[in-house]
C-alpha cells in the first residue's frame, strides 16, 4: 500500500494549482450551475486552455491524442479542478461519450467525433431520461423508426443538462418496440441543429438553468450516427455509466465548503452565537471534513481499480452514493454554521462567502438523483455487489 501521490503527480498537482490560480478571476463565484453568457464564455475559454495543456483528455489512450495517463492522475485532475470550483472540465464529451466511442464506435465515428472533443471545441449533452422514464430508464419510449439509411426520431428527453449550450446530443431511442425493453434500444448521436430538435429550459430550485427538455419531431438522422449495433444500445450505455462514477468531485466540493466555512467562521464568528472556536462549530465542521476524506479515499479506490484493469461496479456506486450524500450533509451543516446569514443568496450585499453556501446546498440535491439515484445505487451495491436476489 502507498497512499502518497507519486513525485510526478505531486509536480503535476503543483503546476495545475498554479495554473488555476493564474487563470481564475479573483471574484469567481464558483463553477455555478447557471452560467450566464459571460461565464459560459469563460468556461469555454478555460476548457480550450485545459485542452491545450493536454489535461482535458490526458487519460485517453495515445492513439486518440491522449497521454495514456494513469486513472489516478486523471482523478487528481478532477479533484483539484473541483476543489478550485473551476469550470471547464467536460463530463459529457471527454468522460462519457469518448470512452464509449473508443469501445463501441466505428473508425469513422472515432475520427469524426473524438478530435473536436479533445480540443475542447464541442459541447455534448446526454439524452437518457424521459418524462416517463427516470430510474426505470429502459422503459424509454422515444422512437427511432427506420427509413432507408436514416432514422426518424420522435419523442422527448428531459433533465437534459446543458442541452441549451450543446452542439450534439448522444441519446437512447427505441428501435424495436416489440422487443423486451432492454433489447430494443439504440444509441444515437444527433446534431442539435437538426430540423425538428427544440429545447425548452427547465429552471431548477436555485433559479438556475441547467436542465432542459428536448423535443424530437420527425428528426431525421443517418444510421451511420448509431453507435454499436441496432437494438444493442442499452449495453453501449451501460458501459458508459461506468465512466462517470469515480465521484471525486463530490468530496472535493465538500472539502472546499468545509475549508471556506471554517475560514469564514474563524474570522467572523457565527451570528451572535458561539464564536468560531465554539465546540459545536468545530465538531460539526470536523465531522464533515472527516467524512469528505473518507469519500475521497473511496473515489481514489475506484480510480486505482480502473488503473489496475479491474472494473469498478459496486465500488463506483459506493463512492457515488456516499459522496453525493456527504456533499448534501456538508452543505447543510455549513449553512447551519452561518446561522441566519446562511440563507442569503449570491448578490445580496450581506451574504457571507458570496452566497455560495445556500446555492451549493440547493444544488447538492441533484447529486443524489442524477446519474442513478441513491436508491438505485444501493440496489446495485446489494444485487450486483453483494449478490442479493433481485426483488
Amino acid at each position: 500500500m502507498d497512499f502518497r501521490l507519486s513525485t510526478e503527480d505531486e509536480a503535476f498537482r503543483a503546476e495545475l494549482r498554479q495554473f488555476l490560480q493564474d487563470e481564475m478571476p479573483a471574484d469567481w463565484l464558483g463553477a455555478s450551475r447557471n452560467p450566464d453568457n459571460e461565464d459560459w464564455g469563460f468556461t469555454l475559454q478555460l476548457r480550450k486552455k485545459l485542452a491545450q495543456k493536454g489535461w482535458l483528455t490526458m487519460h485517453w489512450p495515445h492513439e486518440y491524442g491522449g497521454q495514456g495517463a494513469p486513472q489516478i492522475k486523471s482523478t487528481l485532475f478532477a479533484d483539484e479542478v473541483s476543489y478550485a470550483s473551476a469550470p471547464g472540465r467536460d463530463i459529457f464529451g471527454v468522460r462519457m461519450l469518448a470512452p464509449t466511442l473508443m469501445i463501441h464506435g466505428t473508425e469513422d465515428q472515432k475520427k469524426e467525433y473524438l478530435p473536436p472533443i479533445a480540443r475542447g471545441e464541442v459541447q455534448w449533452c446526454q439524452g437518457y431520461s424521459e418524462p416517463g422514464s427516470g430510474s426505470d430508464l429502459a422503459s424509454l419510449q422515444t422512437s427511432a423508426v427506420s427509413d432507408g439509411d436514416d432514422y426518424i426520431i420522435n419523442g422527448s428527453k428531459i433533465w437534459t443538462s446543458m442541452a441549451h449550450r450543446a452542439d450534439w446530443i448522444f441519446m437512447l431511442a427505441r428501435t424495436d418496440p416489440g422487443a423486451p425493453k432492454h433489447r430494443g434500444i439504440s444509441f444515437v448521436l444527433v446534431n442539435m441543429n437538426t430540423p425538428g430538435v427544440t429545447v425548452r429550459p427547465i429552471l431548477n430550485m436555485t433559479g438556475g438553468h441547467e436542465f432542459n427538455q428536448v423535443f424530437f419531431d420527425d428528426v431525421r438522422v443517418p444510421k451511420s450516427n448509431r453507435v454499436g449495433e441496432e437494438n444493442r444500445g442499452w449495453y453501449v450505455a451501460v458501459t458508459l455509466l461506468d465512466f462517470e462514477r469515480s465521484g471525486v468531485d463530490y468530496s472535493a466540493c465538500a472539502r472546499r465548503l468545509v475549508d471556506d466555512t471554517a475560514d469564514y467562521a474563524s474570522k467572523t464568528g457565527t451570528n451572535g452565537g458561539a464564536p468560531a472556536g465554539g465546540s459545536w462549530v468545530r465538531n460539526a465542521l470536523t465531522d464533515c471534513y472527516i467524512e469528505a476524506e473518507a469519500c475521497r479515499l473511496l473515489a481514489y479506490r475506484v480510480a486505482w481499480m480502473q488503473e489496475h484493469g479491474m472494473m469498478p461496479n459496486m465500488e463506483a456506486s459506493m463512492s457515488k452514493v456516499m459522496g453525493s450524500e456527504t456533499l448534501n450533509r456538508t452543505a447543510s451543516t455549513c449553512l447551519e454554521v452561518l446561522d441566519l446569514y446562511g440563507v442569503l443568496k449570491p448578490g445580496d450585499s450581506r451574504a457571507p462567502m458570496k452566497g455560495r453556501v445556500p446555492e451549493q446546498w440547493m444544488n447538492s440535491f441533484s447529486g443524489t438523483i442524477a446519474a442513478g439515484t441513491s436508491e438505485v445505487q444501493r440496489n446495485i451495491i446489494a444485487t450486483r455487489g453483494l449478490g442479493l436476489p433481485r426483488g
Partner: protein, 377 residues
C-alpha cells in the same frame, strides 16, 4: 498510490483467515467470555508458533522484520475472528512501545520473550478520569533515592489480569503543560503493591483496575526519559487507535457477510428478505461503512508504518471507523430481526465488542477534536 495488499500480505491474510476459522470458532470466543484467564494457552501457543507475536519485530530479537502495516493485515483477520487474548496488548501496546522507546537492555530483555510468546504485556494509560488526554495521567511516581515509588489507580487497563509486565504512564512532575512531567515505567505485574481487580464489561473483554500502593521500581524501569514520556504514550495511543481500527474493520467485514447470508436465506412472504429493497439498502449501507472504513483504517496504519506524521490520519480513522462499525452493527440487527438480539446468535458478539472498541484509545468525540486541532479549525 497503491491501495492493494502486497503478495506477502495477501498470503498472510489468507493463511491467518484459514487458521482462525479452524482454531478460533465462535464457540471458543463464547467460552472465553466466561473464562477467567480469557484465552486458551493452546491458541496462544499456536499463534506464537506461526510467528505472529514476532511479526513486527527485528530479527535480532527473534522477530521476522514485518512492518506495522503487515501487523495491521493480521489484526484485521483477528478482528474478524474475534480472537480472545492478549495479542493486541502485548504486541501493539507493549512490544512496539518498547521497540520504539526502550533502551538496548530493555529491548533485549523483553522483545525476545514477546516473540517467543513467553511474556505478555499491557499498557496502563487511563485512570478513573477516563481520558486519553495527557492531563488524565495523575498516578504519581516519586523519586526515592535510586528508585521510584508509584501510587495511584489505573482504570480500564486491557488484559492486565494476565499480563506479566505493565507499562505504566505516571506523573513525575506537575507543570503548566500536562504533556510535561509524564514518565513511562516498565513494571512487572508481580511487583509488590500492584493489585489487579477485573472489571465486568459489556464485551466480557478483560479490562481491569490496576492499583499501585507504594510500588517501588528501580530507575532502570524508566522507559525513555524522565518527565518526557508523553510522546511515547501519544505514539502508543496512535498505534493502538490505528490497530483498533483495522480490528474493527475485520469485525465489520464479518458482520456484513453474516447479514448478507441471512438476508439470502431468511424467507418471508414467500421470498428471501434480501430481495426486499429495504433490507438490500441496509446491506448496501453496511458494505459502504465497511469499505470506507477500510481505506481510512489502512491510511492510518500505513502512515504509522512509514514513520510519517500520522496524527490527522489516525484520528480521522478512529473517529470514522468507530462510528461506521457501530452503525453497521445496528443495521445488521435491524436486518436480522429478533434472532440477532438473542444470545445464541453470533451477531451480538460483534455488537458488544464494537461498542467497547469505539471507546478504546479515544472515542470519536476525542479524535474529532484532535483532527480539528491538526487542520486548524
Amino acid at each position: 498510490m497503491d491501495l492493494g495488499l502486497s503478495e506477502t500480505q495477501q498470503m498472510l491474510k489468507n493463511s491467518a483467515r484459514a487458521f482462525l476459522e479452524q482454531e478460533c470458532p465462535h464457540s471458543l470466543v463464547r467460552a472465553m467470555e466466561q473464562d477467567q484467564k480469557g484465552y486458551p494457552p493452546e491458541l496462544w501457543k499456536s499463534m506464537v508458533d506461526l510467528g505472529w507475536t514476532g511479526l513486527a519485530f527485528p530479527e535480532k530479537y527473534g522477530g521476522t522484520e514485518g512492518s506495522f502495516l503487515d501487523l495491521a493485515v493480521l489484526i484485521e483477520e483477528m478482528g474478524r475472528a474475534l480472537v480472545p487474548g492478549p495479542f493486541f496488548s502485548t504486541v501493539v501496546m507493549g512490544g512496539l512501545t518498547i521497540l520504539e522507546a526502550g533502551s538496548d537492555a530493555q529491548k533485549a530483555e523483553h522483545l525476545p520473550r514477546i516473540c517467543q510468546g513467553e511474556e505478555t504485556l499491557t499498557m496502563a494509560v487511563t485512570e478513573p478520569s477516563a481520558t486519553f488526554a495527557p492531563g488524565g495521567i495523575q498516578v504519581e511516581a516519586r523519586k526515592d533515592g535510586g528508585d521510584y515509588v508509584i501510587n495511584g489507580t489505573k482504570l480500564f487497563v486491557p488484559d492486565a489480569q494476565t499480563a506479566d509486565v505493565i507499562i505504566v504512564a505516571a506523573r513525575t512532575s506537575q507543570g503548566a503543560n500536562a504533556e510535561d512531567g509524564v514518565t513511562c515505567f516498565i513494571v512487572p505485574a508481580s511487583t509488590q503493591g500492584v493489585s489487579i481487580v477485573p472489571l465486568d464489561t459489556m464485551a466480557s473483554d478483560k479490562q481491569a483496575e490496576v492499583s499501585f500502593s507504594n510500588v517501588k521500581v528501580p530507575a532502570g524501569a524508566v522507559l525513555g526519559e524522565v518527565d518526557k514520556g508523553w510522546p511515547i504514550v501519544d505514539r502508543a495511543i496512535q498505534r493502538g487507535a490505528a490497530a483498533k481500527c483495522v480490528e474493527m474493520l475485520g469485525g465489520a467485514g464479518a458482520v456484513l457477510e453474516m447479514t448478507v447470508e441471512y438476508a439470502k436465506q431468511r424467507v418471508q412472504f414467500g421470498r428471501p428478505i434480501g430481495s426486499f429493497q429495504a433490507v438490500q439498502h441496509h446491506c448496501a449501507n453496511i458494505a459502504t461503512y465497511a469499505e470506507s472504513s477500510r481505506y481510512m483504517a489502512y491510511q492510518a496504519a500505513w502512515s504509522l508504518s512509514e514513520g510519517l506524521p500520522a496524527a490527522r490520519e489516525v484520528s480521522m480513522a478512529k473517529a470514522w471507523v468507530s462510528e461506521a462499525y457501530r452503525k453497521a452493527c445496528l443495521l445488521a440487527h435491524q436486518s436480522h430481526g429478533a434472532i440477532g438480539f438473542t444470545q445464541e446468535h453470533d451477531l451480538q458478539l460483534f455488537t458488544r465488542r464494537a461498542r467497547v472498541a469505539e471507546l478504546a484509545y479515544g472515542d470519536p468525540k476525542f479524535h474529532r477534536e484532535l483532527v480539528a486541532e491538526s487542520i486548524g479549525i
